[in-house]
Subunit: 117 residues, 2 copies
């Protein structure tokens, strides 16, 4: 990071619902089902899945390096990253003009547990 | 099953894309991302998540036993089971008037692998 550039974390406080929920252990309550549906909705888009996979493969990626591989404009990328942050799947750090993104490994692990691992 | 009642399996041939795809190993190709997005879209609904969890918890469930716990009509339940069958997450067996549903453990395991297990 350049000297003097402030760094601002970008993430959402996500609820604990997802940690307790399981799709295969017992019938889901309405609250857990609502919370889980929101997270799966964030994954139900091919651009967001490709974005997540690019970030996951590289560890940390600047928004400025997502335009070319996704063939999307910066406003479109901002929309998709916002949806992923709200679902707790992505978190970022604003450094100067650009945001650097990382995938939430904890959130992916929680989803795997939900699906019965 | 009552004697003389024919049994008809209900399932979809799902592609192999999901087995190869991984969200965390390398950038997803467009085909894998499209296929995965369709499966996550099937999970992005609280009624379908509750339906899956009820079937998973009991192993096998008759459509006729889903109306009360889901508080939904039979046509609504049929719509949601059809979406889940098309995503490869549910398979059924028609016995006489009713269909008996099971969750596809293989499909859930494939999704866990996609998410990085």
């Amino acid at each position: 990071m350049a000297r003097g550039v402030t760094s601002t974390p970008i993430s959402m406080e996500t609820s604990d619902e997802l940690c307790r929920a399981s799709l295969v252990a017992a019938p889901l309550g309405q609250g857990d089902a609502d919370e889980l549906a929101r997270v799966f909705a964030a994954l139900a888009d091919p651009v967001r899945l490709r974005l997540l996979s690019i970030v996951a493969a590289q560890g940390e990626v600047c928004s400025c390096d997502l335009e070319v591989p996704l063939a999307k404009s910066q406003p479109t990328i901002s929309h998709h990253t916002r949806v992923l942050v709200e679902a707790g799947l992505l978190h970022g750090e604003k450094r100067g003009r650009w945001t650097w993104w990382r995938v939430s490994a904890d959130r992916l692990a929680a989803l795997r547990r939900v699906l019965g691992s």
